[in-house]
């Protein structure tokens, strides 16, 4: 080997080692979960910064998170390879093609071809994770538009909608929109587990581009979450900001906004007192206040399987009719992620647009009139949505005063302290909350009216259910009885 060759081989070896070191780094390399998003207030740009306590490697690797993080977008798809990497060949055309595809999707909305939109939603969000409109519309579409013949939503899609929303705000952390949209899905669609809505609305408020009018929703979410003081504080904070704006602009809109917030704040303040909340918190007697004594709602229920996939649900509810709505859930007994009268809705970050079609989950509301409810639930026209493929089912009846409208909450208060039930008051199914909860069981054969149940009518009921003397017809009864929430009479 000539000296020149030896020198060259030495340089070549050094170069190879250098590139390997630069590629893989030296020292313990952080992984994506060691990073957190930090927004620079001046430039508005979001950085990936190491979380506190994670040490810097001696040499960063180029194959590490710079490339992964700044590869075009993160996907919620859980496979090892991010699919947008496969689409890199489109180079900078991704955004253009994504835009064109979304325009195409619009035509599907018009023609009602809702199923065709699903793959487009996924494709467009992969191609262009910064097209927020697609995430927002996609979430709405998935969460709201798959319904049965009686306009009940197919809740098996809700986890996908939430995962899409989560992906949306992770990919677009500088804007309020996706935090807001995802929070709204918790607040309005799921209508339960309000702390998720609160957290998301709080995040939305941190973003500079949030529309002022939408900020009120945080206060309402706090109330639903049983935190009326935070609601009041939110109103007061919004009031200060609105007042500043008004003093600077003196426009009609600014004036209106400020006054609305002021009115909301006043109402909340009054309610905090009237509903016995302050007294309760301060350890004083709540006797002078509206939530005392607690009102026994007198809940009972009977479920009759009147035909295959047809239920008739009747029962008693001693509360005045307007705004009283009891949730009924009929689901597989072993539905994955199920919890009482609900699901662990955001247990997965994966946007699975094809939920298991062998699962059954029906949720609806039972409206009360004249202290009774009587509702037909016909699932027979939607066998795809209600396959009843398993053997065992549960029927859950649930009421949470946090969802109640103001005039009922004036009695029940936010914490249900003004509500009770001899048989079905429950403080376990929602930790720290007073709810009404009853659980009954049905089998597949009963629901489908097969086998031994072909000729017999399955009836399940709470032990305290008493058949009414008169057959109650809610549609024809012209007299509406509005009992007092103090006396029940």
């Amino acid at each position: 080997m000539t000296p020149l060759h030896s020198r060259m081989l030495a340089i070549g070896a050094a170069a190879f080692i250098t590139q390997a070191v630069l590629q893989n780094g030296v020292g313990s390399q952080p992984t994506p979960k060691d990073f957190t998003s930090v927004t620079d207030e001046k430039s508005g740009k979001t950085f990936k910064a190491l979380k506190k306590g994670v040490s810097n490697p001696l040499i960063w690797g180029t194959s590490s998170h710079y490339a992964v993080d700044f590869a075009p977008g993160k996907s919620g798809v859980s496979s090892g390879l991010s699919p947008d990497q496969l689409l890199f060949v489109l180079g900078g055309f991704r955004e253009l093609i994504a835009g064109i595809l979304w325009v195409k999707a619009d035509s599907f909305f018009d023609s009602g071809n809702y199923d065709a939109i699903l793959p487009l939603i996924r494709l467009v969000t992969i191609l262009d994770p910064h097209q927020i409109d697609v995430y927002a519309t996609g979430m709405w579409h998935i969460g709201y538009n798959f319904t049965d013949e009686e306009q009940r939503s197919d809740r098996r899609y809700i986890p996908a909608a939430l995962a899409l929303g989560k992906e949306g705000y992770q990919n677009n952390p500088t804007t309020y929109e996706m935090y807001f949209e995802t929070g709204w899905m918790w607040y309005h669609k799921i209508d339960d587990d309000y702390e998720h809505a609160v957290n998301l609305f709080v995040e939305a408020q941190k973003r500079a581009d949030m529309i002022p009018a939408r900020k009120n929703l945080l206060a309402m979410a706090y109330q639903r979450d049983g935190k009326p003081e935070e609601a009041l504080n939110t109103y007061l904070r919004l009031y200060d900001a609105a007042d500043k704006v008004y003093k600077a602009e003196e426009s009609f809109g600014a004036h209106q906004n400020r006054d609305t917030i002021e009115s909301n704040a006043d109402t909340t303040l009054v309610r905090l007192v009237q509903r016995g909340w302050i007294a309760g918190k301060e350890g004083r007697s709540t006797a002078p206040y509206d939530n005392s004594p607690p009102f026994d709602v007198g809940f009972s229920a009977k479920v009759t399987v009147t035909g295959p996939r047809e239920l008739n649900v009747q029962g008693t509810w001693g509360v005045q009719p307007v705004g009283s709505r009891i949730r009924i859930v009929l689901r597989d007994a072993d539905y994955p992620g199920a919890k009482p009268a609900g699901l662990d809705w955001d247990s997965s970050s994966s946007v699975n647009l094809e939920p298991d079609k062998g699962l059954t989950f029906m949720q609806d509301g039972l409206f009360v009139k004249n202290r009774r409810f009587n509702r037909k639930l016909d699932m027979s026209r939607d066998p795809t949505m209600y396959p009843f493929a398993k053997d065992k089912y549960v029927v859950e009846l649930y009421y949470n005063p946090r969802s109640a409208p103001p005039h009922i909450q004036d009695k029940f208060s936010w914490d249900g302290s003004g509500m009770t039930d001899k048989n079905y008051l429950n403080t376990e199914v929602r930790k720290g909350q007073r709810v009404i909860y009853a659980k009954l069981e049905l089998t597949k054969d009963q629901i489908l009216r097969r086998g031994e149940w072909a000729d017999r009518t399955p009836v399940i009921k709470t032990p305290n259910y008493i058949e009414p003397k008169n057959q109650y017809d809610p549609d024809n009864d012209t007299v509406i009885d509005i009992p007092s929430l103090r006396s029940g009479k």
Binding site: T46, F47, R94
Partner: protein, 264 residues
């Protein structure tokens, strides 16, 4: 040094006169001029579409130019016997190879420079309200990183050209470019995931060491979208460019070793 520069100079002269390359460049430039009009087809903002399309065209065009330029470089010299008139002079084979490479990179730089000028021009025309130096310099980071990326690709193609035919080289270099861009994050994930079996982890590390990492030059996401940014930009650029230079040196030396014993 002088022979290297002389060879590089003639290489540039030849390259900028090659009709195939000029046609590819022309097509790229035409697409770039059309780019502003594409914004109306899409629901995204015009600036976003403009930046994304133009950066994409520059990258794609540059990649094709880099490969087409370099796969024929050495084989053409052998076929036309120009290499004999050069190697019969006091020019070492390594000087010849390095000279050809530097010429290729210079030609590539000229073509990408032209595309970048069009990029800046179209961008400034479109941004009637928002013309500023900062926006332009930000945007130019993309083509600069692409240039380093393409220099690495050119080195790879020249290395292969020392022992495979141009057609095989075309697909080999193009294929490795695709792999190095697409699969690097995949193997990185395998390296980091604690659930990966030991053997798969080591395999992924080995592949990541050997396969050139083209993905780290794709910074267009941070340029097109206002949200994401690179945390420590200077460190990132220094490291990524340093990686490229080290890999290029390694490839050239490997090419020299092969070329030294090659019968021409």
């Amino acid at each position: 040094m002088r022979p290297i520069l002389a060879i590089a100079g003639t290489t540039v002269g030849e390259a900028i006169r090659r009709k195939v390359l000029l046609i590819i460049l022309l097509i790229g430039l035409v697409f770039m001029f059309v780019a502003p009009g594409l914004g109306v087809l899409s629901t995204r903002s015009e600036t976003t579409v403009l930046k994304s399309v133009m950066l994409g065209i520059i990258q794609l065009t540059a990649a094709v130019i880099a490969i087409v330029l370099t796969v024929y470089m050495i084989p053409n010299e052998v076929e036309r016997r120009t290499i004999y008139t050069i190697l019969s002079k006091p020019v070492q084979r390594w000087q010849f190879l390095v000279g050809k490479y530097l010429g290729a990179v210079a030609a590539l730089g000229l073509m990408m420079g032209l595309m970048s000028i069009v990029l800046v021009g179209v961008f400034l025309v479109q941004q009637e309200q928002n013309r500023n130096v900062t926006a332009v310099t930000e945007l130019l980071k993309g083509p600069i990183m692409y240039f380093v990326q393409m220099s690495l690709l050119a080195a790879l193609a020249i290395f292969f050209s020392t022992f495979v035919s141009p057609l095989v080289n075309f697909f080999l270099s193009g294929g490795i470019y695709l792999l190095g861009t697409v699969f690097n994050p995949f193997f990185t994930t395998m390296q980091e995931n604690p659930n990966t079996p030991w053997i798969a982890n080591k395999f992924a590390t080995l592949v990541n060491i050997i396969l050139p990492n083209f993905a780290s030059y794709n910074i267009q996401n941070t340029l097109i979208n206002s949200g994401p940014a690179i945390q420590n930009e200077s460190l990132y650029y220094i490291q990524t460019i340093g990686y490229g230079v080290a890999y290029i040196i390694g490839l050239l030396i490997a090419g020299i070793v092969v070329f030294d014993r090659k019968e021409v």
